[in-house]
């Protein structure tokens, strides 16, 4: 299958607070996944787990902190945090190494360090004592100075080695800087990136606040075309009325304002607006959670038809698992900025492995009283993993197409579990 979107080690941090209280909220913390052409990729998780942020980082409503996003093989965005980190680390390392080749500096530093260690042990109010230490320090410094003057060659810097380290550092910095410039160029909304970005469009959660109340429906839908430089009024009108019909509205609706429509109709306008630039990837961010039950089915069916008709790839972000199961080919489960499980929807529901996925699946309310009254809910406790320095979790493919965040010891356990549930499943199947 052809990869349409590749996300590699995407990170999105937000700064909160300032000064000493400054902290980074790791909304998305190192997630990687691919979306294949023509599939519906579902993303679930509780609110605040970073699923919306992922969508918004892909379409570049946020500047990613780190990682890369590729669309159709071309890099369209990414973050520079890791390169800056590398440069900083290299600088620190080089500085340490250089000191090793400067005997005079090293000796001085040693004296200062010794004095400070002594000072730390005594009470700063004990002035007499402090002064003794200080005097000793000055004496040692003077001695050292005399020694250096007596034998300058012994204390001379090893200039050749230092230059070598500096040169190495410079080349490394240059490599990283080139990476940064290349990325910044790809990140800018210019040239090829701009053209590629048109192929990704987004549908937002709230159909009321995502449409400008002072623009007519025609202006809202045509905006994508106008921004990309189309000036032919007749062509625009034609496209607008075409896409209004595609989403099940009438061309006459073009001259009305958003407030004249119901929630479901407004969401259709949002979909038409996304479709008019003929995108290949549609990011649907909870497109149905703000809608009424009876209207939801209309919008789901519409999206499903559009997906078939235009061979769209859809990234479907939602928290309603039964809808995601119904709509998606593959499902990713997110928890606190991490992707904990990724599998085809069939595999995920046949044998959910991660504890969080299990708890999520056990919490879905279904319109079936018998099931509901006997349902056992499973609670997730992040402490149950027993992760440690030697037993670190990583995102691994446990069976073809089934990825999971697990530590080596867990993987063994999951494999046993998986075999058992598969056996049960096929036994049931053969019974039928």
């Amino acid at each position: 299958m052809e990869k349409l979107l590749e996300v590699k080690h995407l990170k999105q941090y937000f700064k909160a607070g300032s000064g000493k209280r400054k902290l980074f909220v790791k909304a998305v913390d190192d997630i990687s996944f691919d979306i294949y052409k023509g599939e519906v990729f579902g993303m679930v998780g509780e609110s605040g787990c970073g699923k919306t942020t992922t969508g918004r980082s892909i379409i570049k409503l946020y500047d990613a902190t780190d990682g890369e996003v590729y669309f159709g093989g071309k890099r369209i965005g990414g973050g520079i945090a890791s390169m800056i980190e590398t440069i900083k680390a290299a600088k620190v390392k080089a500085a340490k190494e250089i000191v090793g080749y400067q005997p005079a500096k090293l000796a001085k530093a040693q004296i200062i360090q010794e004095a400070e260690a002594q000072l730390a042990q005594i009470d700063p109010k004990d002035i007499e004592h402090v002064q003794i230490v200080k005097r000793e320090k000055a004496q040692k410094m003077a001695d050292l100075k005399a020694k250096i003057q007596a034998d300058p060659t012994k204390f001379a810097d090893n200039q050749a080695e230092i230059d070598k380290i500096k040169a190495e550092l410079r080349t490394l910095i240059n490599v990283e800087r080139n990476k940064i410039t290349a990325l910044k160029k790809d990140n800018a909304f210019r040239g090829e990136t701009l053209e590629t970005m048109k192929k990704i469009q987004m549908i937002f959660q709230d159909p009321i606040s995502s449409l400008n109340p002072r623009m007519t429906v025609r202006e809202i839908i045509a905006e994508g075309l106008v921004v990309s430089g189309v000036k032919d009024r007749k062509y625009i009108d034609e496209r607008v009325s075409h896409f209004l019909r595609v989403v099940g509205l009438l061309p006459e609706h073009a001259f009305r304002y958003p407030h004249e429509f119901s929630g479901g109709q407004r969401q259709r306008i949002g979909i038409a607006r996304a479709l008019i630039v003929e995108p290949e990837l549609l990011i649907a961010d909870e497109p149905i959670s703000a809608l009424d039950v009876s209207i939801r089915a209309q919008v789901i069916n519409l999206l499903k038809n559009l997906q078939k008709e235009y061979n769209l790839t859809i990234m479907f972000i939602a928290h309603d698992l039964s809808v995601v199961k119904y709509f998606s080919d593959r499902i990713a489960v997110m928890y606190y900025g991490h992707m904990v499980e990724l599998a085809s929807s069939e595999l995920l529901f046949r044998h959910p492995l991660h504890q969080y996925t299990k708890s999520l699946l056990s919490a879905i309310p279904l319109p079936d009283p018998h099931y509901e009254k006997t349902r056992k809910r499973f609670t997730y406790n992040p402490a149950c993993h027993n992760y440690s320095a030697t037993n670190k979790p990583s995102f691994v493919e446990i069976e073809p197409g089934h990825w999971i965040m697990a530590s080596p010891s867990e993987i063994e356990q999951f494999k046993v579990e998986m075999a058992q549930s598969d056996k049960d499943f096929f036994e049931k199947l053969s019974e039928k």
Binding site: S294, A297, E372
Partner: protein, 368 residues
Amino acid sequence: MEKERILEVKDLRISFRTQQGILKAVRGINFELFKGETLAIVGESGSGKSVTSRAIMGISAGNSIHEGGSIYYYNSGIKSFHQVEDSEHAEEEDIIDLMKIDEEHFHKLRGTKISMIFQDPMSSLNPIMKIGKQVSEALYLKLGLSKSEAKVRAIELMNDVGISEPEKRFYQYPFQFSGGMIQRMVIAIALANNAEILICDEPTTALDVTIQAQILELINKKKTERNLSIIFITHDLGVVANMADRVAVMYAGKIVEVGTVDEIFYNPKHPYTWALLSAIPDLDSKETLFAIPGTPPDLHFPPAGDAFAPRNKYAMQIDFEEEPPMFKISETHYAATWLLHPDAPKVEMPSNLKNRIERNLKKARKGA
């Protein structure tokens, strides 16, 4: 065992004065609530379910007009304002009509007898008042406890609804709580004065699935502990299946079908109930979802016949002309559709829905 009736809504009609004219939000509904049961009211937004619940609480909006009908509250323990004019109930003691009593009397009922939980937990608490004060306020204003007694009781209540470290939490503000915890606090406040009736107006719509499940479990636990009667308003049929003993389906200001939860989910009769049930996918559905065409009617101009007729593919001529009465299906199951009339053609429910119900029933039998 005869169930004890606690609340009865009789032919309730409520309208609103709006700029566009009179909006008929509730158009003559009847239902009963028994002690210790959960009645779920289902319907899309604008069907009048919130208006009904607000009328029971006596907090209707200022532009509302009470066009007629009564809400009888049985055995309130407050006999001083015996106001029933209806001859049927005139003999009985201790029945009050909530639509007729004045605010001063209502004040005695609200919170102590009837309590309500609202949809958005974030906006139901005062953001600039400490949580503890908001809980104990209910206690010393209504029960007449002293402030120190109220604090002890409030911490007990907070513990009861599963708030960890209540002593510390007592002095915190709502913004320091998560949505699920605020909803727990709202439940604690609603139940602080031992209310008999709890009205839940979409209490979990703003919450996540896992938190939703916790809150529903909490409400169910409290229900069995205190023998509460609950009116549960929602549009999520999954939640209804979990919570309800009986279900009333509302559409355009009327109850179109009422029955026990099994009757509504396994043997629905009204086309609107069919449509609602088949509009949501369950974990096994693969086929195209049934989408209800069109939009609900404008209740400024309520339609003459069955309000659902224009969106209903099973509608007959009579549906557009005359309102269907409630047809009796069983002792507990009623539906307002002409399809149940003896002269009506036999119509089966949509095949998708039928398959699903059969599948579910099979599973249920296997489990039992």
